[in-house]
């Protein structure tokens, strides 16, 4: 968790109600200055509501939002002029690309020459200088999103609020756009809040992550920690942790789950105490024979599902069901089919331990 002195944006005791029901309920949340905070969570978890509150378009039922320690709603227009936003839809106005990018500066009363220079700079940074004179309606989805992001940077905002800006773009275009965005944001370093449901995006762009479920913060950590070391079972399920096993600690760093003995270097629970053990499917490796490494056990292949670059294998070992994502090339070398027996391996460092109710 970031210290308060680093927090650029702060949320305190925030509740937002819709139809008398709390859709967002956050006790405390800090967005560190100059870093990218990714907000992740399932549909309806309150991600976009949080962004709407930070944009001052949704009004909190209670609580405070501060920017540099000052209430954001004291002068909404002034606050918004320190920020900018981009969404899944590019939301360009019916004017030329150049005029769209200049618009935030025009609204701030910036002179024509400065506006033009700034727009030219950001159009070049996003590789769309040649589109400057094109009308916004004549752009492809990827081009329009680049213009939208260039516009967001043009006013050199202290805070950048982004709601799934890469979600509406096709895969190859998206890759290039994320790459360019990552480079630009690392140089410009605005305090960024990025709402996303995409794991790769969160891992590539996020310095810090907030996971919301049911309008509440369930975990704040580095993105990799949320995906590899979820705080609880609900988080584990959301981040695609396919293997969550109920177990019990039997000795120091060793757990029993479904009749299998598993070692973990993760935090420990009390001896004899119940725990949830979890591991991501891509962290389980399969082999024909065991070697000297820890956490190896024999398992029978129950089902095989090709999933693009990996093969998802469902296996059973004793009372333990496990799911492994094996790269296609490795799977082909193994030559396993349903009913075959294999050796499953989990590195102790990859086995995460969570508290479980008694």
């Amino acid at each position: 968790m970031t210290s308060r002195s680093d927090a650029h944006l702060q949320v305190r005791d925030l509740t937002i109600q819709r139809g008398g029901v709390n859709v967002l309920e956050i006790d405390a949340l800090d967005m560190p200055r100059g870093l990218v905070t990714v907000v992740i969570g399932p549909n309806g978890s309150g991600k976009s509501t949080l962004l709407g509150a930070l944009q001052l378009v949704l009004h909190p039922t209670s609580g405070t939002l501060t920017l540099d320690g000052q209430p954001m709603d004291a002068d909404p227009v002034k606050t918004r002029r320190r920020m900018s936003a981009a969404f899944q839809e590019p939301l360009l106005l019916s004017m030329s690309v150049q005029a769209n990018v200049e618009l935030p500066l025009r609204l701030r009363g910036v002179d024509r020459r400065t506006r033009r220079e700034s727009a030219e700079h950001w159009l070049a940074r996003f590789g769309i200088t040649d589109l400057a004179r094109r009308h916004a309606r004549q752009l492809s989805g990827g081009e329009a999103q680049r213009v939208s992001l260039a516009r967001a940077f043009a006013s050199q905002p202290e805070v950048l609020l982004l709601d799934e800006p890469f979600a509406g773009v096709d895969a190859p275009t998206r890759e290039g756009l994320i790459e360019d965005f990552a480079e630009i944001v690392s140089q410009a370093r605005p305090t960024t809040v990025l709402v996303t449901h995409d794991r790769d995006e969160a891992l590539r762009l996020g310095d810090h992550a907030v996971l919301l479920i049911g309008g509440r913060v369930r975990q704040t950590a580095a993105p990799v920690d949320i995906f590899e070391r979820p705080a609880d079972r609900a988080v584990a399920e959301f981040v695609g942790m396919e293997n969550v096993w109920a177990g019990r600690r039997s000795e120091s760093g060793v757990y029993q789950a479904g009749g299998v003995r598993l070692a973990s270097t993760a935090k420990s629970v009390a001896l004899g105490a119940p725990a949830f053990l979890c591991v991501r499917p891509e962290r389980i490796t399969l082999a024909h024979a065991a070697d000297s490494a820890a956490n190896q056990f024999r398992a029978v292949v129950r089902a095989v599902r090709p999933r693009g670059p990996v093969v998802r294998a469902e296996l059973t070992s004793g009372r333990l069901d496990l799911t492994a994502d094996v790269p296609v090339t490795v799977w082909d070398e193994l030559g396993l089919t349903v009913g075959d027996e294999a050796v499953a391996r989990i590195a102790p460092a990859d086995l995460h331990v969570m508290d479980a109710p008694d």
Partner: protein
């Protein structure tokens, strides 16, 4: 048929000769209808924007009133304005009855609902997320209104055309509150009615053609602006 051809020939002669009375009536028509339309735009566009963007108690009632007003018979409007401005009426002390100002008021009441209705429909059709983006870019209230006007210019120019069309073409209200006084409140529509009544069809045709050409020219300019390919 001959009557019509004689009328058209006479109209052409009057135009060619630059008939002073026709020029005077034309200019007065243009001045009164333009003033009514301009005031209707000043009031109607912001009112349409408020009705499109805000939800408040009584909004539905106002929208229903606006929709009713869009089809209001001019003679009813004329009667209401005449009763209010009549010497013994609530605003009789202003001595506005049978003046161009009274005609502007009547035409304003006819074109205002059209401008409000068209503006409301245009602005309501804007993606609400685009309006959110306008706020997010740091626009203040006036700037959001300016951007909305810019964004809905096609629909708003239709509002201008409808408003101006309603003002310049109406006759009943102008007759009731203006009185069709020569040199004072006579406009193209009321003059056409008068000349038709007198059997001066050639003059009536000339006046009608002026009215049609005038309406066409104004709408030609507005259509040009509306259909121009926006660049910046």
């Amino acid at each position: 048929m001959e009557l019509i051809w004689d009328g058209i020939r006479e109209a052409a002669r009057l135009w060619w000769a630059g008939d002073a009375e026709i020029i005077e009536i034309t200019l007065r028509t243009l001045a009164i209808s333009s003033a009514a339309t301009a005031i209707a735009l000043l009031i109607g566009i912001p009112l349409g924007a408020v009705l499109a963007l805000r939800r408040f108690w009584g909004r539905g009632l106002i929208v229903a009133a606006v929709n009713t007003g869009m089809g209001m018979p001019p003679v009813v409007v004329g009667l209401i304005v005449a009763l209010i401005l009549w010497r013994t009426g609530p605003l009789g002390d202003l001595n506005l009855i049978y003046t161009p100002t009274a005609m502007v008021v009547a035409q304003l009441l006819l074109s205002l609902p059209l401008v409000v209705g068209f503006s409301l429909a245009s602005i309501q059709s804007v993606n609400p997320r685009l309006i959110g983006q306008m706020w997010a870019m740091g626009a203040n209230r006036l700037q959001v209104l300016w951007l909305l006007v810019r964004e809905t210019r096609l629909g708003l120019l239709a509002a201008v055309m409808a408003g101006f069309g309603a003002a310049i073409s109406e006759v009943g209200a102008s007759m009731q509150v203006g009185g069709n006084l020569a040199g004072e409140t006579r406009v193209l529509t009321t003059a056409t009615v008068l000349e038709t009544g007198r059997g001066n069809f050639e003059v009536a045709i000339a006046l009608s053609l002026v009215l049609v050409v005038l309406a066409f020219l104004v709408n030609l300019v507005l259509t040009g602006v509306q259909q121009r390919r926006p660049v910046a």
